[in-house]
């Protein structure tokens, strides 16, 4: 891009400012996680690692984390399967109502979480409860998967659209049947997109609180629900900050790896 020196500088400043704004609250969270005071009030009163130690020892926290991971993995798995199937159909076939499919896929993430949540809740109660199936982890997974499908769909179909069909045709031409072609040619080509989609889907599920509230069963507490509860509990605020700080630090690595892997060979500059 041909920019004047001033324009370049302005953009750099804007980006720096944007990133500062993105990280300032996170810094506050981090500082509060080592803040001797129990409340979040500013400025901090002293330094302590006490809350990190406390967090480390909380079985409820660990259980919630594990529940969230299971819910995230379940929702991601469903989203990967359904999202990529829909992506293949939408990019490799022309059919009546193709537009409607992408519209339908996007609806669950675009409609307010509370609408999705109470709709699922009402439906589960009408349909599942009479069958003797209660709310639990599986209902959470169903709820999350519903709005995660679209992110896999979008990632995979963007990749497929840019992927020339000639690769798959070459494979068929060389004698590979449909399933061999998928395994040997298509899958390697969309692996990065699947990964990126999976990561985003997992992140969405991992952070979802509203839909979870309305779909979780009695014994099912995900991390956001735990956070929600604990923000309202005595003395737990700092521990919540510890959890958030740890998540930020832990998340940077997989996010970075995913970005590396999802950049196609000779990717765009």
């Amino acid at each position: 891009m041909h920019l004047t020196r001033g324009a370049r500088l302005a953009l750099r400043l804007a980006t720096g400012l944007g990133l500062t704004v993105l990280y300032l609250p996170l810094l506050v969270v981090l500082v509060n996680s080592v803040n001797a005071s129990r409340s979040f009030a500013w400025p901090p009163t002293g330094f302590t690692l006490h809350w990190w130690a406390v967090a480390w020892q909380q079985p409820g926290l660990r259980a919630a984390l594990w529940t969230s991971v299971r819910a995230g993995l379940g929702a991601t798995a469903v989203a990967l399967l359904l999202g990529s199937m829909a992506a293949f159909a939408a990019t490799r076939y022309r059919f009546f109502g193709r537009q409607t499919v992408s519209f339908l896929l996007i609806l669950p993430i675009a409609l307010p979480g509370i609408v999705t949540g109470i709709a699922l809740n009402a439906a589960f109660r009408t349909v599942l409860t009479p069958l003797g199936i209660g709310f639990g982890l599986s209902t959470v997974i169903i709820g999350h998967a519903t709005f995660c499908i679209v992110v896999v769909f979008n990632n995979v179909s963007a990749r497929l659209r840019r992927l020339p069909a000639s690769g798959e045709e070459a494979s068929a031409d060389l004698g590979a049947h449909t399933f061999q072609t998928f395994w040997h040619v298509t899958l390697p080509a969309v692996r990065g997109a699947l990964l990126a989609g999976a990561l985003l889907a997992f992140a969405l599920s991992f952070d979802e609180i509203v839909v979870t509230t309305f779909t979780a069963g009695p014994g099912t507490q995900t991390l956001p629900l735990w956070i929600f509860d604990n923000l309202a509990r005595p003395n737990q605020g700092p521990v919540v900050n510890v959890v958030a700080s740890a998540l930020i630090v832990l998340a940077a690595l997989p996010v970075y790896l995913a970005h590396r892997m999802s950049a196609p060979a000779g990717g765009t500059g």
Binding site: P164, G167, A170, A172, L174, G175, A176, H177, A265
Partner: protein, 352 residues
């Protein structure tokens, strides 16, 4: 792979390597291919030549099985394959963009067809090594496509198809992306490989030079139909239609009045630029020759030859080509008068 051996014979009685019967392909409302009948003989180097959008790629895709004809049948070695998937057909394709698998090395690319057809490992290795030799890429076997030049990629694409020993090899403008020097070298290479392997080659190109120099026979396509099929000299010297005359070489087309003046009869007439002699002022034309006078409108030096555009006194323009054999010939500066002559039997009468 089934062991059928048709397509290896070259006799006329053997079934055609590829036969198209009344093949039509419609996209939406557009007829990309329109009632094509064609027999491609086993072992020949066959080209399909035509302008952009004339349906060349579509025809190739119908033969390979990537698309299904809207009507008509496709036969390979006498067997009707119209409804077969590409992976069940005995043809291989070299794609215009090569379509190499970016995540596989050269060796694994070439091996691909054998692997998916479960050819045993030792045989696989031997055939891949042979194919690598044929295209002279043994040194680069462990590179990825991204690390190769255009010409090298093209050769990998050829080897990847050839290693399967298909009776028929389809090539969709395989040389389009290469620069001239490389293109000429690859033309020689492909011709050599075709001769030594005996495989039927079906080449799609819009480059008339390429088609003329490489092919045993050429089909000229226009708007989804075949205008003419024949050997290079036949197509070039005796174009059946004005379209063929114009598309394969410079047509020098005169019609109606203008044609009557020069050729002695109305209708559409053509004469190839290289057939026309520029006479020296004192020079007489031969007894078998037609002649026409005019004025030089443009002279273009093109290295091996020069082109002279001549505005005829009786109307119309003819281009004459003169090999730069010698630079002592008479100069024909722009604006000077000139007399053109060509053998009567080099006049081409065209049906419209």
């Amino acid at each position: 792979m089934t062991g059928d051996s048709t397509g290896d014979g070259t006799g006329d009685s053997a079934p055609a390597a590829v036969a198209l019967r009344a093949v039509t392909k419609v996209f939406g409302t557009a007829r990309a291919v329109d009632g094509v009948d064609l027999d491609i003989r086993a072992g020949e180097f066959f080209s399909m030549l035509g302008p952009s959008g004339s349906g060349k790629t579509t025809l190739l895709r119908l033969i390979a099985g990537f698309d299904q004809p809207s009507a008509g049948r496709v036969l390979l070695g006498g067997r009707d394959v119209t409804r077969l998937a590409p992976f069940d057909r005995q043809v291989n394709t070299v794609f215009q963009d090569y379509a190499l698998f970016p995540h596989l090395t050269v060796r694994r690319n070439i091996e691909y067809g054998l692997r998916v057809r479960r050819v045993p490992r030792p045989e696989r290795a031997a055939r891949v090594a042979e194919a690598l030799d044929t295209v002279r890429l043994a040194d680069l076997a462990d590179r990825r496509p991204a690390e190769l030049s255009g010409g090298q990629r093209q050769r990998v694409a050829v080897a990847r198809a050839l290693v399967n020993r298909p009776p028929v090899l389809l090539l969709d403008e395989p040389l389009g992306a290469l620069d001239l020097t490389l293109r000429l070298a690859m033309q020689l290479e492909l011709r050599r490989i075709q001769r030594t392997s005996g495989i039927t080659f079906v080449l799609v190109t819009h480059d008339q030079d390429e088609a003329l120099t490489m092919s045993d026979r050429i089909a000229v396509l226009n708007a989804g139909r075949i205008e003419q099929v024949g050997g290079p000299a036949e197509v070039y010297e005796h174009p059946a239609t004005p379209f063929v005359a114009g598309f394969v070489g410079t047509a020098n087309l005169l019609r109606g009045e203008q044609a009557a003046h020069v050729f002695g009869a109305p209708g559409s007439w053509a004469v190839r630029p290289e057939r026309i002699r520029l006479l020296r002022p004192d020079e007489a034309s031969g007894p078998q020759e037609l002649r026409a006078t005019g004025r030089i409108a443009d002279v273009v030096y093109a290295g091996p030859h020069s082109r002279f555009a001549v505005d005829l006194d009786t109307g119309g323009r003819l281009v004459a080509l003169r090999q730069n054999l010698d630079d002592t010939g008479p100069a024909h500066p722009v604006g000077s008068s000139v007399t053109l002559a060509w053998r009567r039997d080099h006049s081409i009468a065209l049906r419209d």
